[in-house]
């Protein structure tokens, strides 16, 4: 029995923490909100130098050949600093899918560029006024010789303006699920990109319009018309990493509350002595540790292809999503008036928590996935 990250993983976390401390933690996100994209790109290359973008890429494509659990410290730390970007979609969706299903050509083309930090990939799934259900995907890709001709609109694309490549869920056939494909689309002038404002301003969202865009057919990931099941596989990786990212945010939220409760004095004593405050922080801590345990295990199941991986990952995701909102909300209350200001980071965490709440499905959707995975 050894249920803990190993020494190297903890050491890697320390490096990352130190690096992100040095650059001011949430300062990067705050500058990004003010429009400073370059600041973020500088941090991105710093993280690349630390090896973050090559963790789970196999060695033959310039990566470190590590696995899901090795991504945990990375995702926790960027969750803590509310880093902008598309790491989740790149490292925990595109990379595992390419590794598992990519053609040699696709791997050679994309993996080294991801590892070197020069390419970022995001996922384009949702369409305007549609749900995440497979029958609501209308964006189409018609086969025309060696090309796919793409028409349609994708919306709420995470990091749409900083990504260089999209993995697009497109309709290539009639069948509800087995008529969908995933296709790698490089960004180009031909794609009309419209930025959307987001409550979490450290997250950029975009709407993408495709008007008879021609993409080589060999850009399809895995077999054609098998996109939906590939997507499900990719979502396991993405949600395992997402749960770690949320844990990282929660960890900081609990820390902020604890620190503030120790130094803020009222009625002649630190507010952390009042049990209304103390017990609330403890409850936040309990949820944090529960979420952390679930997320470690979720990533462990991926690494070990465990039978219970879907139940483990989706329960980790929905638990963390709900708990993150609760603790980020309490954090504001515990800070009193200053918690309501823009100046203090509290609101940034709440907004991030809300951003993740329904990202690629709601907690109810994922609970239902848990039920199905358990054969209920």
């Amino acid at each position: 029995m050894d249920f803990a990250l190993n020494e190297e993983q903890e050491m890697f976390r320390e490096y990352l923490r130190k690096y992100l401390n040095d650059v001011g933690q949430t300062k990067v996100a705050r500058n990004f909100i003010k429009g400073d994209l370059q600041g973020f790109l500088d941090i991105h290359s710093g993280l690349t130098d630390l090896g973050c973008t090559s963790i789970n890429i196999s060695e033959e494509y310039g990566g470190l050949g590590l696995s899901s659990l090795d991504l945990v410290p990375f995702f926790e730390e960027i969750g803590r600093s509310l880093l902008p970007g598309v790491y989740l979609e790149t490292m925990a969706f595109a990379v595992p899918l390419l590794e598992l299903y990519g053609t040699t050509e696709q791997k050679e083309n994309y993996l080294p560029q991801i590892a070197s930090g020069s390419k970022k990939i995001t996922l384009a799934w949702l369409e305007p006024n549609k749900s995440f259900n497979p029958d609501e995907v209308e964006c189409s890709a018609e086969i025309n010789g060696d090309s796919l001709i793409i028409n349609g609109v994708k919306t709420l694309v995470s990091g749409g303006d900083i990504a260089d490549i999209y993995i697009l869920l497109v309709r290539t056939g009639e069948e509800v699920e087995e008529g969908l494909s995933l296709v790698l689309v490089d960004h180009s002038e031909e794609i009309k990109r419209n930025n959307l404002k987001c409550v979490d301003e450290s997250k950029h969202l975009a709407e993408l319009k495709f008007n008879s865009l021609a993409v080589p057919i060999n850009q399809v990931v895995g077999p054609i018309n098998q996109g939906w099941s590939l997507l499900q596989e990719g979502l396991l990786y993405l949600n395992a990493a997402l749960s770690s990212q949320m844990v990282g945010g929660m960890d900081r939220v609990v820390e902020m509350s604890t620190e503030y409760a120790k130094i803020r004095e009222q009625f002649g004593q630190p507010i952390g002595r009042f049990q209304a405050i103390k017990h609330r922080i403890v409850d936040m801590k309990l949820e944090l540790e529960t979420a952390r345990s679930l997320s470690y295990y979720a990533n462990w199941t991926l690494e070990n292809s465990s039978d219970d991986r879907a139940a483990a990952i989706y329960s980790a995701r929905s638990f963390a999503a709900e708990a993150y909102i609760r603790s980020a909300s309490q954090n504001i209350q515990i800070h009193g008036g200053i918690g309501f200001t823009e100046e203090i980071d509290c609101h940034l965490y709440l907004k991030r928590a809300r951003y993740f709440e329904n990202y690629l499905g709601s907690s109810q959707d994922y609970n239902e996935q848990v039920a199905l995975a358990l054969a209920w």
Binding site: A4, G272, R273, A311, S318
Partner: protein, 398 residues
């Protein structure tokens, strides 16, 4: 990160499994799990069970070999609890003796005390209880007033204890009494006595609990007598002994957690079988959602426990994080039992032989309230976690 258990541990499990299948009370494995209810028969049944455990070498497994134990590792202890929960083994009547008093005696008792008590704890010949709480000293244990005055080599003890579990069945009591007054430092001046319950100065009155059971008692001490030789640790230093005693619970709430896991699985089975409007309950959207949430929470508690256990294995003793386990498990247990009753609809009010599914849930629900109070209330656990894990300022007056 790995969850495997070694070959040796696996062999340990197999050995225990085989032993249990051959030695559990008659009919137990087949589901006839009845424990007599009258005090005498109840006590005899459970003492016999403990004697059987002892004779098979399965009592006090964590104790050192020279004291009759097996020197079991922490992992073996965990496996032991898992198996006991799996077969729904009868409760250990001398839980307090085996898990708390015995190990404390082995570490800090005098030679004479070891000679006198150790063997009888293992065999179940002498059942122990703990006399801490008093009418005016519950969460604030340092406020105890029961006092012991010296008279030659004797101590005369007067006062009242309350909520004494197993007090009515016990032969011995690990008792805290005041031997000195330090109004400034209330936890000073308390002494730990190994008290003989079978004497005229000791009287127990069972208290009827809200779940219908009578497991805890009022304990009246009227010129009860203990000797110098019955003191464990130093005079006035009993607080330290009590803290040590608690540290011996190295696998913490393992057993409760494994029971919770089993109950969760039973809950799923019931929700599959139980039909409402011709549909299994488990197909109801509300039920599915709630059950998926419970799944996350019970798995999370179990995994938390394993994470804390990993720390314990590294350090050799549990840290303050074990309070997190106790709080999570006892509160979750209460909510889960409550939910099980909710989904039974109005039939859920039926009890005992008329209960719609299994009376276990009604019983469990009622009993679950004891778990968030006994052994330190949930509020006190929150104080401990806040102060010792998070480093928040201490409550005034403590």
């Amino acid at each position: 990160m790995e969850f495997t258990i070694s070959k040796k541990e696996e062999a340990f499990r197999e050995e225990l499994k085989t032993w249990l299948s051959e030695n559990l009370p008659y009919g137990w494995m087949e589901g006839k799990r009845e424990i007599p209810t009258t005090k005498e028969e109840y006590s005899k049944f459970l003492r016999d069970w403990q004697r059987t455990l002892y004779e098979g070498g399965w009592a006090g497994i964590a104790w050192p070999k020279e004291y009759g134990g097996r020197n079991a590792t922490i992992m073996e202890e965990i496996i032991y609890h898992q198996e006991m929960v799996r077969v729904k083994a009868p409760p250990l009547i001398n839980y307090i003796g085996i898990h708390m008093v015995g190990p404390t005696l082995i570490r800090s008792g005098s030679e004479q005390q070891k000679q006198k008590y150790i063997q009888n704890i293992l065999t179940g010949e002498e059942v122990w209880c703990q006399g801490y709480s008093e009418p005016n000293a519950g969460s604030d244990l340092s406020a105890i007033q029961t006092n012991a005055t010296k008279d030659g080599d004797c101590w005369i003890i007067n006062g009242q204890k309350v909520w004494t579990s197993y007090g009515h069945l016990a032969d011995r009591c690990f008792l805290l009494a005041r031997t000195n007054n330090h109004p400034e430092k209330k936890h000073k001046g308390i002494t730990a006595f190994l008290l003989d319950m079978k004497q005229s100065g000791v009287e127990t009155k069972p208290i009827l609990q809200m779940d219908g059971n009578q497991e805890f008692n009022e304990l009246y001490l009227t010129d009860a007598i203990a000797h110098d030789a019955d003191i464990i640790g130093e005079v006035d230093e009993g607080w330290k002994v009590m803290i040590e005693l608690m540290l011996h619970e190295r696998v913490g709430i393992g057993a409760e957690l494994f029971s919770l896991e089993m109950r969760f699985n039973e809950m799923v089975e019931i929700a599959k079988e139980h039909h409402v409007n011709e549909k299994p309950l488990l197909e109801d959207r509300f039920v599915r959602q709630k059950m998926a949430e419970f799944y996350a929470r019970y798995r999370g508690s179990l995994l938390n426990y394993y994470r804390n256990l990993t720390n314990t294995l590294k350090k050799g003793h549990p840290g303050p994080e074990s309070s997190i386990d106790k709080l999570l498990v006892s509160e979750l247990n209460k909510e889960m039992a409550s939910f099980m009753i909710t989904i039974q609809g109005h039939h859920g009010v039926l009890w005992k032989e008329n209960a719609p599914v299994d009376t276990v849930w009604q019983d469990e629900f009622l009993a679950s309230f004891g778990q968030t109070i006994g052994g330190g209330t949930s509020e006190v656990q929150r104080n401990t976690i806040g102060e010792r894990v998070l480093g928040l300022p201490k409550d005034r007056g403590r």
